[in-house]
Each structure stands twice: as structure tokens, then as C-alpha cells.
Subunit: 307 residues, 2 copies
């Protein structure tokens, strides 16, 4: 049984040319100690999300290869998409899963970052728990002006110097490397083609404009429909169900409603179980009452529920 | 890794004298190859539910011991409770989990039943997939008149002869032994002390009176509140979420609403995940998007999601 496990979720700025996404995924093919758990591509966001898990040394190598492959194949001067981005390998978070702490993951993130800066000449910013200064800890601040805006700012503005790598932006852009807890990337489409409604709903929802804690949200047009695209950064404290109900209520204010939702990548099981418990009016402890968990626990085949 | 696993969920007619329930549970203490996963006691129903899992031979021995212990310690002539019952060890279902079929479980159920009839002189009825004739296949038909009614009927009515064991009811009553798929025992309390409302809601819900498929329901008074007590026998085809919404709507018809719910014993994880998916308007395939399942799958520590 493996006892040290880290998750890594590289987001790359390509969601249309699937051959390029395949090639990026292939860069870790056959690497021992790493498993590709999921891949999600979105043509409107023009972005793909890989979910990997592995031992610390293997996951560090895998993260480096994905950044290298994306940097080689994606030209940010040509990139258009609904999702904000600063680079080919836009963001690379590490998440502790088993047998190690966030602190251990910060060391890992800095090690990978230094290698990317040195060997690939890609500017690297550390964010989340891996940040070395307050200015870069928040991803949305770090992405201000996106690739195009950062191209000038990285040379002119001392506050926007990278943590490692050159202070200039090539066609691969920059990469944000971070450490965080499990996050739920959750999109809700409205029954509307008016992106302005999604933007208003997002504004009412998100932490940064006075909404709910632990919610990042933006309004975008995806597949011709208004979408509220969210990152829920702590679903233990700010669970999915009331967030979705707030989306529903804010959308109703503009005469709209929820068409459907989607989960981007993977979510901690508990985030979904808690939603069932919320809607069904069950006590919170019901999360412990699934047959499979008890069987896995009894037979010693379980991993802990992620917090 | 164990490759043959059976679940067994004995329901015994004691939910008040917890020392008796303890003693029944202790009868399987130290038995190798069996794990007690859960125990749920309800004083109003005056009933306890044990959830066990184990290898076929160990689970057969465990089921026998629990029936023997319950038969010895519970006097049905003194038993009162909200839940219908025919015996001390009222119902003993077997559920295939891994590496064997329902057909294999029927052989196991018949083997345990024969031993109970012979060694304990307790009349045994086979129900569900283990039934040998249509009259006993449905548990509610089998329980008609309950312990008190069956005492006469077992002697007078040829259709109510047991499958094995004596044709007379002692203080231990009779035991129904069956094979079924995973079932969700789900109770919903209403904001009312009027049991008649719960009875009407149950009538509107249950299969036998024209409601939803795969739903057994009754209205009872538990803790001074009206409760709709349900067995959902196939949550893949008739999921929890629309059942709960129908309870909500029928209760509203009588000016009432849902106070809270509870899960009795354990539920297949998928039944809860499907409820989250239903309410959050996610696509059904989202059930495959939990991080823990993917990790367990990658590391070979998973058991299949129960259907």
C-alpha cells in the first residue's frame, strides 16, 4: 500500500485542439508512481484540466513534464478563451492526500517551480500555501491583466516579478504553482443566453464582492448559454448545496433559472454526500453511513475521506 | 483481499433494552471472517438492525447465532412496537456484495433457514429471491396479522405453513429469511404529531396502493411526531430524491412539511450520490467523478459501486 500520496491538477490553456491535449497527457505515459485520474477539456474556456495522483517524487516529475509539454506546444500569443489565463501551463496546484502535510507539499511545489524556471525559462509564481509574499497568494490577483497584461507588467512592475525564472514572458507565458486543499470546480448554466445575468449572479455569489465565503465565481458564455463558473475552495465550511440555491435565487431575480450543472474534474466524495444530506434533511453524521465505506474500512481497503 | 463477500442485515424485535441488543451483538464476537458494520436501535419501533458483512460460511454462522440469541432473549408475547413483526429475529436478509450471485445467496439462506428450523425449532419463511412460493415472496404479506395473528394462522391456514421448522409459534415467533439487493431504509418525520397525516402520505407513496414503484411505506408515531417510514427497494430505478419530494408535496397537501429524515442502517453510496446529482442538476455520470473512487481504483483498493 502506498503511504505518501499527492494530487496535482495542472490546468493547461488548450481545450480545442485535442491532439495537443493528448500529447501533453502522453508526456507522463509510463512514468511509474503516477496515475492520471481524470481529464476534462472545454472548448469555450479553451482549457483542459488534468487530475493526477502519485508519490511525491513521481508527481514532481509528472508536473514538470506537463508544464514542459504545454510550454512547447501552446502559443499564448494565439490563445483565446473564456477563462482567464497567464500561461500555457496556467496553474499547477499540489494537494496533500495521504501521509504528508501541506507544508511538505510547499517544498515539493518550490522544487518543481525552480526546475521549471531554470530548465524551461518560464517565469513561475507561487500561490496559495506556496506563496512567498501576499501579492501572489491569490490566483485572481496574480492573473490580473491576463497573459497580455502580464507581458508588460512583468518588466515594469517590481510587485509582479516572478518567484523564479526570467522576468519576461515568452509564447509559453507564466505558470502559477501552488498548494491548496481539495477544491470543487463547479459550473452552473442558466436558461439564458445573456452573459450579463451570469456576471451579476457571479458578483452576488463571490467572496471578493461581498458574497459567500470560499467562493470564486465569474459569468461567462459557454455553448451559447450564460454560465456561472465557480471554484468552491472549502466545501466543508461553504458547502455546494446552499451555493447552488443562492445561484438559483439570484438567477430568479433576473427571471432566469438553472438549466444544468457540471463538475469540472473530480470532487471530494464528501462534498457530494453533504449535498445529498442537505437536501434530504438528514443529520450530518449520515456521511458515515455508506455501505461501501464501512466495508472498505472493515477490510482495510479504505483511504480517509478528504476534508 | 477477500473475494467472496455477503452482507446480512438481521432485524431483531428489541430496541429498548439495549443490554439485550448488546448481548445479541456479542454472540458473534470473535467470529473470524465477519464484521459488524453498523447497529441501529429505535425504541418507538422497538427494533434493532444489525449490518454484517463476511465470507459466506462465516456470515451463515453469524446469522444463525444472532437468530439463536434473539430467540432466547426476546419474548414476543410481551413485545410492543410501531413496526410490524412476526418474531424475535424478525427478518434476516442476505445481499450479495462481491464474488457471488443472488442465486448463491439463496442456497446460503436455505442452509441457514434449515438449521434454524431444526436446531432452534423456530418456523422459517423464505422471502424475496429465496421464496419457494409466491405467497411468501413479499414481506408485508408474510407479516399479515403480525406475531399475534400468525399464532393461529400458522396452525389453521395451509397457505401460511412455514418453509421449514415447526408449524407452531413459540415465544420467539417466526423468522423470515430472504435474499434481496441493497435496500435503503429511510424515515421522514413531518412537522406534525398527527399520525394520520403520515399514514395518508405513506398511502400516496407506496407501490401497493398505487404510488411509486419500489417503495414500501407506512405512517407511524415516533418520538411524538408523525413519521413516514420507508423501504426503498431499488434506488437505481426509483431514487431517493423524487421520493422525498413526493413526501414533501403530499405532506403540504395536509398543511405539513418535512422536519428531518434519517437513514436506518447503511445505504449504498450511490443512492446518496444520486440524490446530490438530482438536486444539483448534474449529469448522472458525475457519480464517477469522486476523487476517492478514482484514487482507490488507481491503487487497487476499491470495491465496485453497488448497483
Amino acid at each position: 500500500m502506498t503511504s505518501h500520496l499527492v494530487e496535482c491538477v495542472p490546468n493547461v490553456s488548450e481545450g480545442r485542439r485535442l491532439k495537443v491535449v493528448d500529447a501533453i497527457g502522453d508526456s507522463i505515459l509510463g512514468l511509474p508512481g503516477v496515475w492520471l485520474l481524470d481529464r476534462h477539456s472545454d472548448p469555450d474556456h479553451n482549457r483542459s484540466v488534468f487530475t493526477l495522483v502519485g508519490t511525491p517524487s513521481a508527481i514532481a516529475e509528472a508536473a514538470f513534464r506537463i508544464v514542459a509539454s504545454a510550454a512547447e506546444q501552446i502559443d499564448m500569443t494565439q490563445h483565446r478563451g473564456a477563462h482567464p489565463r497567464i500561461g500555457a501551463a496556467d496553474v499547477v496546484p499540489f494537494i496533500p492526500i495521504e501521509g504528508l502535510t501541506r507544508h511538505d507539499c510547499v517544498a515539493l511545489a518550490h522544487e518543481v517551480g525552480a526546475r521549471i524556471g531554470d530548465e524551461l525559462s518560464v517565469p513561475v509564481y507561487y500561490y496559495g500555501d506556496a506563496a512567498t509574499r501576499p501579492e501572489t497568494s491569490d490566483l485572481s490577483a496574480l492573473r490580473r491583466g491576463q497573459y497580455e497584461g502580464l507581458r508588460d507588467a512583468i518588466q515594469d512592475n517590481p510587485a509582479r516579478q516572478p518567484d523564479t525564472g526570467p522576468s519576461r514572458l515568452g509564447s509559453a507565458g507564466a505558470t502559477a504553482i501552488g498548494v491548496r486543499g481539495p477544491l470543487v470546480a463547479f459550473n452552473v448554466w442558466l436558461n439564458s443566453d445573456d452573459v450579463e445575468i451570469a456576471r451579476r449572479v457571479a458578483r452576488a455569489l463571490r467572496t471578493s464582492s461581498g458574497g459567500l465565503q470560499n467562493v470564486k465565481a465569474m459569468g461567462v458564455l459557454v455553448g451559447g448559454r450564460a454560465q456561472v463558473s465557480m471554484n468552491l475552495t472549502d466545501t466543508r465550511r461553504t458547502p455546494i448545496a446552499p451555493v447552488v440555491e443562492m445561484v438559483r435565487r439570484e438567477a430568479a431575480r433576473y427571471g432566469s433559472s438553472i438549466w444544468r450543472s457540471e463538475l469540472v474534474g473530480l470532487a471530494p466524495r464528501r462534498a457530494l454526500l453533504d449535498a445529498a444530506i442537505w437536501y434530504l434533511q438528514l443529520p450530518s453524521e449520515t456521511v458515515q453511513q455508506t455501505l461501501e465505506d464501512r466495508i472498505q474500512g472493515a477490510l482495510g481497503r479504505s483511504i480517509p475521506l478528504l476534508e
